[in-house]
């Protein structure tokens, strides 16, 4: 069903393109860095819900999740460009299953997100929150399923969208709400009840929480709740994504 040579080839394409667009790698990091250094420092008086950390240090795990969220969703939506540029046609005509194509694409998205995560982790480790090697390793490991799940969401939406005009809508109505309701910038324990309820359905909530457990040693949920929720969202988004790719037809 899945042709691993083809997955490797597709992944290689994504890697080459990603590494050739150095401006994109940097530009994706701009807004997270603004949050981290302007908001994090600007609210220097703000209380950190976890004792022993500054507010800037407290939001750092949330900003890690933010980088993955924005990189992965944007990457997923980019297949609209593939459709426009007719590159997708060549791949749709190849003797590979749609599941193969989907996994090649989602691994490509993961790769991009991992590079961004690593960059931010290094910047953060130097300037904000020193990390030991084990923590760095665990963060990167956590980034795998998280970026996979969010890339899948982007690909699923991108496969169904007809034009790039919907891009702004997805960012406004999906990406930013996912980010804000995840509790990346505050402690869910002290949030208004409606935020608490909505955040339970936000996959990013568990990602932020997982990063907090790794980097701060304390989260809102237990480790197993986070891992379980992320695993569940990975399964759901895989099913949705493969189905959406199955329906992809050559555009006229």
């Amino acid at each position: 069903m899945i042709n691993f040579n083809a997955v490797y080839a597709l992944l290689l394409r994504e890697a080459k393109i990603f590494l050739r667009e150095k401006e994109r790698i940097i530009s994706i990091l701009i807004s997270p860095l603004l949050f981290l250094f302007v908001m994090g420092k600007g609210m220097a008086e703000g209380q950190s819900p976890v004792p022993g950390f500054t507010y800037q240090q407290y939001i750092f795990p949330g900003i890690m999740a933010m980088v993955i969220l924005f990189t992965s969703i944007t990457y997923g939506l980019y297949i609209i460009w593939d459709k426009r540029l007719d590159f997708l046609k060549e791949v749709l005509a190849a003797p590979i299953s749609r599941a193969t194509l989907f996994f090649g694409k989602s691994l490509g998205g993961m790769l991009g997100a991992l590079i961004e995560t690593l960059l931010l982790l290094v910047i953060g480790a130097f300037f904000i929150l020193p990390q030991n090697p084990l923590q760095v390793l665990l963060c990167l490991l956590a980034a795998f399923p998280i970026s996979y799940m969010i890339t899948n969401m982007g690909l699923t939406i991108g496969a169904r969208m007809k034009s790039m005009e919907g891009f702004g809508l997805v960012m406004s109505f999906l990406t930013w709400p996912l980010f804000f309701f995840s509790g990346a910038l505050f402690d869910l324990a002290g949030a208004a009840p409606y935020i608490k309820v909505i955040s339970l359905f936000d996959p990013v909530t568990y990602c932020v929480d997982l990063f907090r457990i790794i980097m701060l040693g304390k989260g809102y949920f237990t480790l197993w709740t986070d891992l379980g929720a992320i695993a569940l969202f990975c399964l759901i988004t895989t099913a949705l994504g493969v189905a959406a790719f199955g329906k992809l037809q050559q555009e006229k």
């Binding site: 007719d86 060549e90 005509a93 299953s97 050559q250």
Partner: protein, 324 residues
Amino acid sequence: MAAIKTDNLVKRYAEVTAVAGVSLEIPEGEVFGLLGPNGAGKTTLISMLSTLVHPTSGTALVAGRDINKEPLAVRRNIGIVFQEPSVDDLLTARENLYLHSMLYGMPRREIGPKIDQMLALVKLSDRAESLVKTFSGGMRRRLEIARGLIHSPKILFLDEPTLGLDPASRKAVWTHIRELKEAHNTTIILTTHYMEEADSLADRIAIINRGKIIELDTPEALKRKVGQDLVFIKGELDEAAVRALPFVKSVEKENSRFKISIEDSGANLQALLNAGGKIDEVEVRRVTLDDVFLKFAGQQITDDADEKAEGIFERIAVNHSTRR
């Protein structure tokens, strides 16, 4: 064995029937030309045969495999060169071919040498490591043809392969196509707007309009249906006398002149002019595929245009009545 055999293929979209029942058989090693006006259903037909679009009904065997039941097996045996370029701008020529070879499951050891061979064939060896976005239209086309061929397909689909190319590049593409047929006995399905192209390349030509094949024959036989030669005459032609001549196939009034289709102008022109009455101007030429195309597809194009115009007027009329 036939390379392609279709059985009453139909594709209906919400508003239009793009392909309205096509049954044909294409033997191995043939260059088959598909001609038709825009929107006639050429691309849809090719898309169904290459398993990119599911037929509404009917089926086809491509390289002996059923397009509905074994699409991946069909794909492994065919190559496609699309109407719009689909090479990846952000990769180099070599990377494009590498990606394609991997997707088509070629053994890894063979890929490198095969890429060099194909790049040499389309004369792009010196640009192998350049990004495709730096390529001209003709170079992209050639790269795309190399890509369609690299996995040695039994059947090659070329959808308008020379669209937008300058005459020199077009001739180069034609030469490649002929070489393919001769060297590898590749079956080639070609759609084109250029009659000259179809005439010089295709063994057989199907004229398709409104999703149906309206004529299918060799280029020579199609031309013979229109007549061998065309004589254009300006002046006061004695139509009745001309029509009575045994070698005259048809007489039509075209603007200010008469278009007369005759057999063998070398032997019969003098007789025609003698019978024609007072003649001011004469022009004689061989029948080309353009004439064939206009005869079989042209009338229907005019009909379509009329229908559309009516449609618009009706819509305007409806709008007016609702507004009141």
